[in-house]
Symmetry: D2
Subunit: 472 residues, 4 copies
């Protein structure tokens, strides 16, 4: 069992309170670390503030090399990081390794984007007042970024904050989820070995109230949060004058049209619905199928679902494992039961054992049932028929959330309509809303979020434009 | 004396409470209108919500023509708008006409930018996961914009919200300053004559508490505010999940270097210091002069100041007139007196009669005096010597504000240093911070604001990006 | 009958040789002007050279206003310009007026784009060698542009050279087609009334050998030519070190897929095939229809074709009139006859009277017949069935030309395939290749051209990038 | 002594004629290879044509990996490549290694840029005609690129063609200089080991007449040439309809202003004047010094010049070695002698032994002397006083060439004037024109070239835009 120090202001130290990290799969203790308190947090913020000018001055080739070194460091320990994620998050091996590879990719992209921080030219002589003047816009780092990341992608969703922060010349203090701090503390060792100034990065598990201090401290210039809508919007209210980015969740919808490739749609939806037990912000929760395909779709979908291989996350062929904790498994069990009592039909699954919840398929639900209108974050999908494509669009939009949506169609008009009318951050044609590559702009509208991530987009959010007016 | 109806949801109506508009210059009543209450506001919001889909679908050539028609409409009544601004704001004729011309220009720019709403292409095949996929990002209007504008540019600062809102396909509800609603109510007639859907624009004077309703109503998607820092930041806290843009004020600094063109610097600084009695967000408040130029600069500056022609704003040769009200004139009188008692020297001005306050020049001030550290928004500047260019940069930065700064220099190194190190939204080389053309990005950092205006920048703020992932 | 002077170096003068302008419709003389000789051309070039520095320094608001004044000037004489085009080019009234409106639009766009000449920022510190350096790229006018325009859009295709040349800060010397110089000489009067420096624009009808002088003169920096492939490629060879843009013709193809809206396809293809008697660079010459739609398409297409109203171009309801001259009408008559003898079937038309050639529809042609493989530039289309969509793509590509292509489909996959595989400058989905709006990039590949027009694209071609490396 | 096969259509073969590669330093034979004839060239072109569709379809992550593998391959043999360049080109070790590092960097940049091939969005509804339509511009590879590279950077100037060609999805056939083909034939082995389709790259030494075949063959779509102006412009005339990029030379000028940092200027100018014996396209040939600094500049410059260490290129501390051959050394000797007889004064150097030519400093030259007006491409600079900054600008512009220029100044106005008025591709402030980093746009105006290189710029040149008009 490994012991992890926390990483504060360039030093590996112990916080005042021990934090035991247990495997969700078998509740076994597999690592021990500590929590930061307000003092440690304060020191980290002070160190970050002191470091900002120096960080901003690092030439882009050096920032780029640092980011590449971090990517190399993760690659060197790819197997170790994979196993950590299996253990701390209960995520099946295959998906854990994919997450590690994506984290590497995010640092690689950041290494490239740091050399491409944009500048903009403006001719200012559009009126007599501007004659002889030209304008240039540059982007400067905000200073100190406070970052909060969730348990479900313990490495990569933290990296989506760390890498852009470094690439845009900021200092950053990360609060990882308390259940899953190990992979980022392992990462801290790699970051510490680079030539980044001490204080540029701190990685500090902390309890929620200490985390509030990170959000309210005047020494922090910006907050970037990934997690639940409930917590996210509360923190935004606390953040005062700071810039805030929120990456929250949703109840992502899929629409399968008349012209869809049904085979493709079924395969993608099973993956999008049950990967990592649906504990993914863009998990496929609601599938709407044009009525003529509905019976066929149901049959194939349920068939595929039953083939998913349950097991220990550390075993390479496991498709699906436990949820993060029993509390969440119990929650979804209740929701499904409520739905059943309200008239929903369970086509597959529905049972729970401890923190294991069967891959579950519902139909005949209503939009006001929790399984439909709230974020399930569980291995559960509902499949409903729709009369027309337009009905399907309306169904997807009938939600307080708006992160991503998937549409299976081969018609140009349907693609156009879907893109124009579905109110989300991203519409994915012929794939599930669960699709994400790490350089694309990613984020939600309505209650699903505020701002966009994706390396370049996150970097832009972490900078302020400054205009130079040059009177010749 | 003209009576103005208010413009709610496409109708010209009377609110429940009369609003008398008096000339600051002689307290004469020159127009009468009414205030909207919560009911009227609510109807306007409902109408705006109903209009949003229709507005978003208007083809760009039509949106462009509508914006051009508004510009034409103002141009046709250029003289009338000019006189209104003289009367309602007490702004000298020459400056009032310049404001009208700028408002025309803002609509012209918006007419062009509405056809240039950007789209962005992303190759997504950076990894195997993205193979065969491409991404397109488009920008969609947020929906309903709530806009609040101040008294000092009663037309143009409102237009900086209306024009981008229309150009980006949004509905907009404007609350003008209660002292100066006339020019925008005149504008409402022009807007109403276009083919914009009813409800797309409402212009509603209202008291502060009704205004709070605009900020908190869930039917409004975004708030854009120009006004005082105190009010602005409060509203941001009330705005909840909405996007917010704040254009606030500051205590803008100028730095006159060894290599400066002194003549240019003096002329520009007098203009930037006293235009419209300093009631300008980017009014020159603090001038730092390299010590070798200090005596000469003082002499010339005071000489020029004494030449400014005081008078009725409606007279074409008036350089400077009364402040917006006696309250503000009394406030600045107190600040100057406090400074004097604290050791400051008054080189010119310092006296008040009613709402008239003499153009005032101070030196020997300290950074903690109100005349230095708070926003004066009055015809008052302080001039202080500095030992080195770097000292001057530090002085300008020693402020909670950061809107714009001016630097007079002919040295490349000083230009670079100023741009890198001065923490503001815009650094103006060889002109005063008061410089603004209407298409440049404009806005502050620190307590001076949040976000940027300038037509294209305001438009981008009023839209949400949406990603289309197209799996070929 | 009006007499037109030619416009050389800012003066309206007479050339040594008279040029009679006759109406193609009735051979009537309707205007007289003169041809420039080498001397006049030389003076124009010298004047242009002298003007270049001054032109380049004009602030963008002034350049913009000049371009807007020209647009206004055309608008004021909209009716006159329309009639001139009817008379000199034999173009039906409705199409002539549309051309005038597009010329106005081109100047309006240029008035906007001249304020948006791009600048580009580069961080140069990607290696140690670039540390402390930044790069800015600006675009500077090439100097003197030589422009040659054709008869078929006597005003607008000349304007597509004049407007970008002025907008990008160049001097320009235009050689219009000898049959149709009147509309641009009328335009010269409007241009002359602006504040453009004398010599900035010259408009000189000249014979081909004098035109060669324009292409070879070392005082001219760039040649932009619109006309026949044969002449265009020859001129490019003569142009030596100059930049050259060629907008040539083609034998544009349309593909009507299984999922096409047949009604839309027929209507658009009849318009694209016979507008201005097919004397359009992107005239629809070859239509390929998926075999299941072929019989129906033929029937509808021929029906529509027979409804086209023949007449005097000056009459408002004329759909189709004479060709530019008898020579061309005789040429196409011969080609059609050759095709007939080679096995082609004439479904409609085929007859000639003088310079009138009936709207003609062929089928059962082969790709090596002149009617298929050469540029018809006449009111003639061929319609052939294809087995599969891929066959249709191959057919369109089986050509030495590649300007634009049209594809009628509602399938995403077909749209993707068409865009990827058809080798042309532009693929138009659900419209004909004849589609052009004046700000889009327009130009061909293969033998159809070199470079792109469309205001912004033409402007970029008329400028050179210059890099500023600034070592801080 | 190593034998090198040539690389044709994916095979390593022998051409019909042997090519002996000798060291310029001691005429020793150090490698043997062969020349391609027309047959081999033809097979390479055929193979390239066959490969183009496949190459264009490679996903960007794969193209990126291939380019990174090539960079890795060079890095693995960094020492070997360095020695080869020392031997084949007579370039001192330090500079040879720098060249190898830059070649690696070029492939790295290309690996990044290949994922960033731009797409462009256009709203087309600026007029009624475009309503409901949108436009997207993509860039597609031209097909087969013919590339010709010179002796002076035998690896990196070839890589500036190979890397962008691969990154933009083209096939490429490279003709290296006959004196220096070894480094690129070594590179061929690395390229061959990647998964690029056979035929994608051929590297073929050939004599000039075979090279003409590459330029004229209709199977080649574009020619990119780096070399002498004389040859370059001739090839352009032969290239017919092909796109052509020419990177030629010049007689680059430097201007040292009153406000210059003299020490910096001297150090940079000595490096820029004598690095690789001045055999660099942007070699500092003409230095103009404001008269008050002239005596001091001369003294320091000559002093530094005399310290340069002559020696064998393979020795690490050698600053300067022989020229590429005796012919060139004799040529520059003659030019200097002519200048001397015409009144020029030789401040240092001037003597020749075989292919060694002393670092030579002239003054009192006239602009019509060969040492001034022609491209020296030799270790020779001239230094002349100028009265004013404007005179210096005029002197630099008094040349048929226009590649880059250097200006040493600390004044904003002088920077502005230099950038606006010096007619070159790049103006370098506070460094020599010899400055180049591999991602910046690089290329000349006037007789110095046509088009721009620098990875992204070269890639854009190697692609054609294609517009998709999508009628919704």
């Amino acid at each position: 069992m490994e012991k992890y120090k926390i990483y504060a202001a360039g030093e590996f130290i112990d916080g005042p309170k021990q934090l035991d990290i247990r495997r969700p799969f078998d509740s076994g203790l597999f690592a021990v670390t500590t929590s930061a308190d307000q003092d440690i947090l304060h020191q980290a913020i002070m160190a970050a503030r002191k470091a900002v000018d120096g960080i901003a001055r690092i030439p882009s080739h050096q920032r780029s090399r640092i980011l590449d070194e971090i990517a190399d460091g993760i690659l060197d320990k790819r197997e170790k990081f994979t196993r950590i994620i299996c253990e701390e998050a209960g995520k099946p091996y295959r998906f854990s390794m994919a997450e590690v590879d994506r984290a590497i990719q995010v640092f690689r992209i950041a290494a490239e984007e740091t050399r491409r921080i944009p500048g903009e030219y403006l001719s200012l002589d559009w009126t007599v007042a501007g004659e002889g003047k030209e304008g240039w816009v540059w982007y400067f780092p905000v200073g100190v970024v406070g970052a909060i990341s969730p348990f479900n992608f313990p490495l990569n969703l933290a990296v989506h904050k760390l890498a852009p922060a470094i690439a845009s010349g900021n200092a950053v203090i990360l609060k990882p989820a308390s259940q899953t701090p190990v992979s980022v503390l392992e990462l801290a060792k790699i970051i510490d070995a680079t030539s980044l100034p001490k204080g540029a990065v701190s990685i500090l598990p902390m309890d929620r109230s200490t985390g509030t201090g990170l959000v309210t401290d005047p020494g922090v210039d910006m907050i970037t949060f990934t997690g639940s809508p409930e917590v996210g919007w509360k923190l935004k209210a606390l953040a005062g004058r700071k810039k805030v980015t929120l990456e929250l969740g949703g109840n992502a919808g899929v629409l399968v049209s008349r012209s869809a490739d049904l085979n493709l749609a079924v395969n993608k939806c099973v993956a999008g619905g049950f990967a990592y037990s649906g504990q993914v912000c863009i998990h496929v929760q609601r599938i709407f199928v044009l009525k003529e395909h509905y019976p066929d779709f149901i049959t194939r979908f349920v068939g595929r679902t039953l083939q998913l291989k349950r097991g220990n996350p550390l075993e390479p062929h496991t498709d699906i494992s436990v949820m993060i904790d029993e509390e969440n498994a119990a929650r979804i069990e209740t929701w499904v039961e409520e739905a059943r009592q309200g008239g929903a039909e369970i086509l597959a699954g529905g049972h729970r054992e401890g923190s294991w919840f069967e891959p579950t398929v519902l139909t005949n639900t209503r939009n006001d049932m929790k399984v439909s209108c709230q974020e399930a974050f569980a291995p559960m999908v509902l499949i409903e028929p729709v009369e027309t494509f337009a009905d399907g669009v309306r169904q997807i939009n009938d939600s307080v959330f708006g992160l991503q949506a998937g549409v299976f169609t081969n018609e140009i008009e349907e693609m156009n309509q879907a893109f124009r009318e579905i109110r989300v951050g991203g519409v994915v044609i012929n794939d599930v809303p669960t699709f994400r590559v790490d350089h694309m702009p990613y984020g939600g509208v309505k209650e699903s979020g505020f701002g966009r991530e994706g390396v370049r987009y996150a970097m832009l959010d972490m900078m302020e434009p400054k205009l130079l007016v040059k009177n010749q």
